[in-house]
């Protein structure tokens, strides 16, 4: 400090600028000196005061930003351009500058290379410098256009290179909920309100929107048309197309009959095939016991399980084949076409076909003479043999009665005689009905024997 005062040109007029309100740090107290002692001497700050009263101060605006902190290292980094010419100050003629701080003070030639302030930031006085602060660039100045004071020393420096001083952290706004928010929150936590908002309101909204949209008949029709067209488009995809039907059956007649019965117009979409109904249709044919339908790679496969004819039933319309369950299978043109099957007749005969089968099996010794079985009055069977012979069986225990007759026949040749009928309808009183000739013959024999 004393150096500066001693070198001060005596003839230089005292500058008329007001003293700076916020100068670079001037250390007067002992505390300041202690702080400087950490960095030993040469200390640019120590020379601050006189300079600020004289030469370089003009460039420093009165409300300049915070003083630059102490250098992080000493001696300064060698990247400083010591030979950079000093441009004349903005509002001071060059002739007035009788003192060059750079020449006078070795320590003032320090330029901090890193101008970024250290981590605990200084208070940001302003966001941007005022108009007068930024210096007009001087021609021929080079990239470092302006000049400013760093530690009270004029330095070539472009302020635009300086990073923005971070804005001071603003304390958070009041975090407590406002009364309105508090009340709304409480309302939201009320179970009834909550249920209404979460369930009732969406349901209501959807109902109102959908109902409002569908209330117009035209929109309803167009929506329906759209749905139908989409449905048709999907159904008519080639993946779902059924081209033909193949009926697998034991007899080709049945297969043909089923195919005609189904009566499907091909091609058809598999969506339009109601397989359950088609199966019912196929099974409606008497010869079909069971039909299984399947759509497989564009072909409707129908596998038919046919009824096996077990007997022939002669009824008023003609001859019918019936299976073992008594169900009609097909019509038979002539008895000779299926001479291997037993013949039954009479109303309600198919309902008792199980008994008929038993009787037929039991009557094996009479097989060559048997013509068939006749159901009488829907309650009992007659076994009809050739020569018009009949074995009239009772409604209950018909099988036992037949076996008795067969036993009689095999023992005594009962049926070979001139018997019209063996009447076992009352099992306790079996009766033989003889032919007229046999009666006459019997009467003649009895008369002879009574006479003799």
């Amino acid at each position: 400090m004393s150096t500066l005062i001693r070198d001060w040109p005596q003839d230089r007029p005292v500058p008329s600028q007001p003293p700076l309100t916020r100068c670079a740090p001037v250390r007067h107290g002992t505390a300041g000196r202690d702080a400087q002692a950490r960095y030993q001497w040469p200390d640019p700050i120590d020379v601050c005061a006189p300079v600020s009263a004289a030469a370089g101060v003009d460039a420093r605006p009165a409300s300049a930003g915070p003083a630059h902190p102490l250098p992080q290292s000493w001696p300064p980094m060698p990247s400083v351009d010591f030979g950079a010419p000093l441009s004349p100050q903005r509002d001071e003629p060059a002739a007035d500058r009788g003192f060059d701080a750079f020449a006078a003070i070795p320590s003032a030639q320090f330029t901090p290379t890193d101008l970024a302030p250290p981590a605990p930031q200084h208070r940001a006085r302003r966001a941007s410098p005022p108009v007068g602060e930024r210096l007009a660039p001087v021609a021929g100045q080079g990239p470092q256009g302006g000049r400013t004071l760093v530690g009270s020393v004029t330095m070539p420096q472009d302020w635009s290179d300086l990073p923005d001083i971070p804005v001071e952290h603003q304390p958070r706004a009041d975090y407590s909920p406002s009364r309105l928010m508090y009340r709304l929150n409480r309302l939201w936590l009320t179970p009834v309100v909550r249920q209404f908002v979460r369930v009732g309101l969406p349901v209501l909204l959807i109902v109102v929107l959908v109902g409002g949209y569908l209330s117009d008949a035209g929109r309803r029709a167009s929506l329906l048309g759209m749905v139908t067209s989409v449905q048709l488009a999907v159904e008519n995809r080639p993946e779902f197309r059924v081209e033909s039907v193949s009926v697998l059956s034991r007899s080709p007649e049945v297969a043909q009959g089923v195919e005609q019965l189904l009566g499907i117009q091909f091609p058809i979409s598999s969506f339009q095939l109601d397989l359950a109904a088609l199966r019912d249709t196929a099974e409606a044919l008497d010869a079909v016991q069971n039909a299984s339908l399947q759509v497989r790679s564009g072909v409707l496969q129908v596998v038919i399980e046919e009824r096996v004819p077990a007997m022939i039933w002669r009824n008023q319309t003609g001859l019918d084949l019936i299976d073992a369950d008594g169900h009609r299978v097909a019509r038979l043109a002539t008895r000779a076409a299926r001479a291997d099957l037993p013949l039954i007749a009479g109303e309600g005969a198919p309902d008792a076909i199980a008994e008929a089968r038993l009787l037929w099996a039991a009557a094996r010794p009479l097989r060559d003479r048997m013509r068939g079985l006749v159901r009488v009055g829907q309650r009992r069977w007659d076994v009809v043999l050739d020569r018009g012979q009949r074995i009239m069986l009772p409604p209950n225990g018909a099988l036992g009665a037949l076996e008795r007759v067969i036993a009689l026949n095999s023992a005594q040749g009962l049926l070979a005689r001139d018997v019209r009928a063996v009447d076992l309808r009352n099992p306790s009183r079996p009766t033989l009905r003889l032919s007229t000739e046999a009666i006459d013959e019997l009467t003649r024999i009895r008369r002879i024997s009574s006479r003799g």
């Binding site: 505390a31 208070r123 909920p177 009364r179 508090y182 929150n185 409480r186 936590l189 009320t190």
Partner: protein, 444 residues
Amino acid sequence: MTDLYQSQRAMRHLRHQAMQRGVIAVLDIGTFKVACLILKFGTSEDPREGSGVGALAGQAPFRVIGAGTTRSRGVRFGEIAAMQETERAVRTALQTAQKMAQTRVDHAILCFSGGDVRSYGLEGMVDIAGAHVSEDDIANVLDACDVPDLGNGREVLHAQPVNFMLDHRNGLADPRGQAGRRLGCDMHLLSVDADVVQNLAHCLKRCDVEVAGLAAAPYMTGRSALVEDEQELGAAAIDLGGGSTSLSIFIKKHMIYADTVRLGGDHITGDIAKGLQIPYSTAERIKTYYGGLLATGRDDREAIEIGGDSGDWDKDRRTITRSELIGIMRPRVEEILEEVRARLDVAGFDHLPSQQIVLTGGGSQIPGLDGLAARILGQQVRLGRPIRVQGLPQAATGPAFAAIVGLCQFAACPQDEWWDFDIPAQRFAARPLKRAMKWFKDNW
């Protein structure tokens, strides 16, 4: 006094109502923090295995389902100094707890340490009407207690019968049904400044919550921080709070004395802030991180950045040593403890059979406090934490939450108070039929 009697009865009614609804909030409006817990009653499932929570009396049937804590604002010495600010703090705490509990609460039990509580011991004596002591006799003897002049604008906060005498027998906990002629009663009465209570109630009313009960913080601290044998044999619970230090003396499971010292942790913080010229928040932080009461040689070398935000490099980089900080804190803590000692002496704490002292509250977390307190208060000093209750968040199990945990217990199983008994028939005209019957019996 009849007004408060009525309002206390009304609050008890509200409390029953809230219990039936199943949810009630407990709220501790302190100087440093406002804490709110939401209790759910009727959840009586056993505590989780290994949680350390036992099925203690009165704490099994409730569970904490919501908790909220916030910095207190506008409260000084446990009393409301700025109503709007306090209301915001209460709103914050309530809303946080409600959000956590996912339910809304309409009733809150409140505890506070302000209002300059004063203890009175009352006694009454009455001839019993029949051969056995009935509820009416107890109501009569409670009514016969001569109430001292509480002072202007003061009201009764707690009035609990702590002891009954029947003829020559003393120390009865419950004389109902016992044979005798003359029934006497000792009652502990705690008076409080009515305006403080009204401010608190008004503050809660502005938050759309009804006050379902009032309790003094020292009483609540004693209930949660003292273990059962300490409550039985005699102990003092000292709650070093933010703005005030409250103390309560228990014997035979009844509070017999409560008082508050209007000095607390905030004063320590203020001392640090003033002594080091640092902002209050920084002082609080330094106190919390580095505070202590017993300096060692190592503390001289431990530098603490106290910082600053002035922009002045030197001011912002000041450091102090920990021993300097201890040098600031210790005199204030000593002052608080000596004040507590004086109150205990006034209360006759020396005459109790056991003189256990339990330090709790946020201020009891200063390292070295137990050593210092042992020098000033007596040798039987321990640091207390509140009892564990079901569902309490880990963050709310510290000693700073002693009062509100005690309030949970108070809500679950309150002790008998004066207003729990029916009004004596001859005293109050609320039961004209009973009076008429009595008149008939007396005159015919």
